[in-house]
Structure formats: C-alpha cells, structure tokens
Amino acid sequence: MIKEQIKDGLWKQNAGLVQLLGLCPTLAVTVNITNGVALGVATIFVMMLSNISISPIRNYVPESARVPIFILVIAGLVTIVDLSINALSKPLYDALGIFIPLIVTNCIVLARVEAFASKNSTLPSLYDGFFMGLGLTFVLIILGAVREIVGNGTLFQNVHFLIGDKYEFLTIQLFDSSDGFLLAALPPGAFIALSALILFLNLVNQKR
C-alpha cells in the first residue's frame, strides 16, 4: 500500500511536474534552495496534518458543504505553521512573506484532501500527504538550486535562516552575483526552468 503512495507522490503523480498544482508558490519563492526547502517542509506539514484531520471525519462531512469545511481545517493548520515559522526564524519568515499564508490556497493541499483523504482511511492518507509534499519539495529544491546558481552565482544562500547562524559558512559563492544570468532569478526564468524539468521527466517516461 505505502509503495503506491511513494511512487505516486515522488514520480507518477508528482505535484509540481505532473499535476502542475500549486504553481504560484513553486514559481514565486524558488529563488534559492533555502526558500524551496522551507516552503516545501511547510507544505509537507500542512498536507500531512490536513490529510489526517480530514480522513477520520470524512463520513460525517456533508457532500454539499465539503469544500468550505476542508478549507477551514486547512486554514487553521496553515495558521499554526505560519505562526511557528514566525516564532522559529524571523528572517526566513520575512523572506517567504505572503507565501506561507498562501499555502491555504495552494491547490495541491485541497486536491489531495478532496481526491485522497476524503476517500481513504487515516494511515494511507498520512503517507499520501507526506510523499505528495516530498515530491513537491524535491521540485522546489531543484528549481531553487538551478535558479540560484544561474541567476545569482550562489548555492545555499540564506541557509542560516533555516538551521542557525553558525552554519552561515555553508553559503557558496560560485561567481560574482553581478555577473549572474538575471533572467533565471526572475519569474520567466522559473517558468523556463520548470518546463525544462517537465521535459526531463517526459523524456525519462518515454524511454521506459
């Protein structure tokens, strides 16, 4: 059972590359790896929690009112994550800005609740939430890395926001940031990088 969820979440139904859900944060925050990881982990948390909150009550939710109820639960969970990040790392919170609260509107969360958690029991829903989120996180990390290296010449920029000030040395400056290919750091660069990833995925699927 869990194998199915791993395969779907990471490859076959990958949220970022196959379902193309949640494109707004995917494209907007992935200017570096740190942002990608942070948003990805936040999304994993929200997806796991919302899936295991909805799954037990799925038989009591009236069909006609399910979307508002789901959204209400997700909004509550996102608020928790939002306040937690604010408490744990203020600079990271400032860097991610509006995109943490916007996880509420991220289609992928509602889509998994609607398509999976409202039809399955709690444990598979937990796995589904985790691996779907993990699949999206991988996409965010790859996008973040590519855009950061090409656009800004750095790797792991701002990583100390995430794991503490003493790890600031992890930031690698590959070349002077004024020589960077600015397009990669701008929104069109995100679209181009994402389409390149989708191209890669389709090529691999075709080979099989």
């Binding site: 004024s178 290919f181 600015l182 397009l183 990669a184 701008l186 181009i192």
Partner: protein, 332 residues
C-alpha cells in the same frame, strides 16, 4: 509538350529572396556601424550567425524537418543579424550566443518554427539579454568618429586573445540613456551633457536605417503601413509631451533619430510572421507600439522600450486580427 497552368509567368519571390533584400537594406548602416564602433561587430556577425545556423540545423534535425531548405531560407540569418546590430558592438561573445540561443531555440523553434512563432525572435533574444545583463547591454563603445582603420583591423578579431579585450574598451551609455539619467536627476533639456545640434554617430546610423527601409518599401518587400504608423505615432506622442513641457521632454525629432526607431519601424515590426496581416490591423499595431515606446522612454526604467513594446504587441496580434477582419463581399 509541357502543359503549364496559369499564371504562366511566375514571380521568383521566395522567402530566400525577401531575406536577401532585407540584408541588402541593412548593409549601409552596418558599414557605418563598423566605422564608428570597431571591427568587433564583424566578428559578432561571423560567430553569431554561425551559431544561429548551427542551432537552426540542430532544431530542424530534432524536429525531423529537412535541414537544407529551411537553413537556406535565410530567416535564422536575418534574425541573428538583427539581434547583433541591436546589441552593443563590444558585447562579450558568450553573452551574444545566449541571446542567439533564446532567439532561435526558445522564441522560434519551441513555438513551432518559422511561420508559427508568435513573438519576434530577435526581440526576444534582445529582451532576454537586456533584463539579464543590464550592465553589458547599456554600455556602448565610445566612438571617435568614422575610422577607416576599423575595417583593416578586423582580422585581429579571430585571434582568441582579443576576445577578452572587450572589457577594456572605453564605454558609455547611448544618448537616449544619458538623457534619461540626466532628466531623472532633475536636469533640464538645455543643460544636457550631449550636443543636440550636431548629428551623433547613432543618428547617422539611424538615417541609414531609414534609407534602407525606404529601399525595402520601394522593392515591395514591406508595405508602408507598419513603418509609417510607428514613425508617426512616436512623432505625435513624443511631440505632445514636448509641447506640454519642453524642459523635461525631448523633441519628437530626437526620439525619431535615437534609439531603435527606424530600425524597428522598417526591419523589426515588419516581420511577416509576428505582425498582423490585415491593413487596419497593421496601422493599429504600429500606433500602439509607438505609444508604448514613448511611454517607456519617458517614464519607464529602460532607455529604449521598443523591444518590450514589440513583444507586448505581438501577443495582441490575434486579438487585433480578430477585430479587423475585412468584410467578405456579399456577406452582411
């Protein structure tokens, strides 16, 4: 006996011939550019066009198209040429190649090749370079006037050591850029750092673009609608601003002779693929590009906005054509 369908006399006007005439129209201005800005532009043309043709061949191969006829139609050649004469002559070669890549692979072949590209490929390449490398793209070599020796020196370009020399050249912003900066700093038009009474090198090149464009209209490669509507539009809109306040807005003639006005009017917006085909549509297209250009030049962050105006209006072409379809005779 061979039986021929009518028309019995066929005109030999192919894509190939059109592109050849376009290049012919661009040649005089190129001659002047080399004289003013140095031989490096010849090297740019050599490597840039070579790379463009190479990418074109690779894309055609990948898409299972016959390579020879499409390479020979000259469209990649002209695209690369237009991009190269739009960028500063002292651009590092790798930067230029990135622009060529975006022109040919992304703007042209990713959208379906010649005939299907919604955007002008040369302008996509230019816009990518301008927003990605603003420092390189706004520094033109300083011209000491027309120098014959630039033509003799060009063989030096092929020695590898000279490629990096570009960084050491003395550079400055274009007049349009300088004026924008000065006006932004609060200076008035009569206290500007450049002389407005004599023709600058940029203006002489612009005049040759104008003459080359007239040649294209004469040869019936392009019609007069697009160029005239763009030129009049820039003249009228910048003229209105100039009438409103002569101290902060440059004269309409300045706007015509600087930046890419004539180059765009005759050679860029007339791209048959990405511009409207209806008559009214062409006029609307030209007027709106002029309006957006004047707005960007006077209020925007970039010195010249023609590339952005062209790309923006390219997206509007389907809409323009939808509303300007001529009535078919006999239908209400």
């Amino acid at each position: 006996m061979a039986i021929i369908d009518s028309p019995a006399i066929k005109e030999r006007s192919t894509v190939n011939m059109i592109m050849f005439t376009v290049i012919l129209g661009l040649l005089p201005a190129l001659f002047l550019q080399i004289g003013f800005f140095g031989y490096q532009i010849l090297g740019n043309l050599f490597f840039g066009i070579g790379f463009a043709l190479f990418l074109e061949a690779v894309c055609l191969k990948l898409r299972n198209y016959p390579i020879r006829p499409f390479i020979l139609d000259g469209s990649a050649f002209v695209t690369a040429w237009l991009l190269i004469i739009s960028v500063p002559a002292n651009i590092p070669i790798w930067t230029l190649l990135i622009g060529i890549f975006f022109s040919i692979v992304v703007a042209k072949h990713a959208y379906g090749g010649i005939g299907s590209n919604p955007f002008n490929p040369a302008m996509i390449g230019y816009a990518v370079l301008l927003i990605s490398f603003p420092k390189i793209m706004t520094n033109w070599p300083i011209s000491d006037g027309f120098e014959i020796r630039n033509f003799i020196q060009f063989s030096q370009f092929f020695s590898i050591a000279n490629i990096n020399e570009a960084y050491d050249a003395i550079v400055s912003a274009t007049p349009l850029d300088q004026i924008k900066t000065s006006l932004f700093l609060g200076k008035e038009v009569n206290a500007l750092p450049i002389s407005l009474s004599t023709l600058s090198s940029y203006q002489m090149i612009a005049i040759l673009y104008f003459l080359g464009g007239i040649f294209l209209v004469y040869k019936k490669v392009i019609t007069w609608h697009l160029p005239l509507s763009l030129i009049l539009s820039i003249y009228i809109f910048s003229g209105l601003l100039h009438l409103y306040d002569q101290n902060t807005y440059m004269s309409p003639l300045f706007h015509l002779l600087n930046g890419a006005t004539f180059l765009a009017a005759f050679f860029i917006i007339t791209d048959p693929v990405s511009s409207p085909t209806t008559l009214k549509g062409k006029i609307i297209f030209g007027i709106l590009i002029g309006l957006i250009t004047v707005i960007i030049r006077n209020y925007g962050g970039y010195p010249d906005g023609i590339a952005f105006a062209v790309i923006f209006m390219n997206i509007c072409v389907p809409l323009i054509e939808k509303f300007t379809q001529p009535k078919v005779f006999g239908y209400e």
